[in-house]
Amino acid sequence: MSDIKIEGYEFKPGFKGMAKDTGSDQTMFKGVHWGKAMMWIFLLSDTFIFSCFLISYMKGRGSTLIDWPNPSEVFGLNVFGVDVPLLLIAIMTFVLITSSGTMALAVKYGYEKNKKMCGWLILATAIGGLTFVGMQAFEWSKLIHEGVRPWENPFGAPQFGSFFFMITGFHGTHVSIGVIFLFIYAYKTFAGHYDQGKRGWFTTMKGDYVEIEILGLYWHFVDLVWVFIFAFFYLW
């Protein structure tokens, strides 16, 4: 959406445009920032990794003859003497969606070159992500105290633990890396690196607000993966 115009190349919408774009001279995705295209390719490969985890979970859960632990009890919380099913996971979901919304707005304000709003929204996103990771750490330690291990658990099928730690751990790693980058980008935004076109450390690329969109793609993807984990691991 932020694609720059290439001289002598006219972009056409729809499948005609796709044919022209795919078969065009020298490069595909003309005018798309290379970082954005590469982020999409990375996210595609990441999709396959998470799919493999979730499919192996499906296969493991489907092929065991022992009852699978009931997630709404395992992840339930006791609040003031009342057992609320899946409470922590529901709060985590809302926290992640909140941070996804603030990120979407940060991208929007970034393109409007509204440095202040963009920076604060990225910071809000980072804090949302940090809250999420913190709650996940709490969830992990709670389950480990209750005796859940990758090879056994007191609730049912022993495979439960290995899938739980693998899938939520890998997702949590993604969130943690995202949080680190969100803090860095919040600093870079406030410092005006994207207004001045200052170069980053890994690259000679000039700073531009398109970087906020690229970071946003990653962050929304993390939220997207959580949608699937929430549905398949916690609700199913």
Binding site: M1, S2, D3, I4, K5, E10, F11, P13, G14, F15, G17, M18, D21, T22, M28, F29, V32, A37, W40, L44, T47, F48, S51, C52, I55, S56, M58, K59, G62, S63, L65, S72, P85, L86, A90, T93, F94, I97, S100, G101, M103, A104, L105, K108, Y111, E112, E213, G216, L217, H220, F221, D223, L224, V227, F228, F230, A231, Y234, L235, W236
Partner: protein, 111 residues
Amino acid sequence: MEKTKKQEQTTTHKIGIYLWIWGLLFVLSFFSYMVDWYQFQGMLRWSLILFFMFLKAGLIMAFFMHLYWERYALVNVLLWPMTAIACFIFLMVAEFEYTVFTRLFYFVAGG
């Protein structure tokens, strides 16, 4: 895109669309939590979970990740590989059903 000419000035969308999608995501998440709250079982539970999941995923991809406004070349590069995942799921469903069958046959029924 006919917008191309205007793109130097503005490339953003109105804030309303983001807030709408944001609100919808909250509502849909609330609904999928309600599926667990009311302890729906069986096909009703699974279909509701999948319905809300795909709706949420679609909204995030289309609007938060801008795929709805993105060029077809990119959209197709991203979405067609998903058919490979669908095939993999199909294969593994057949696989776990066979595993369950053999386990029942040899462990429970005794061969």
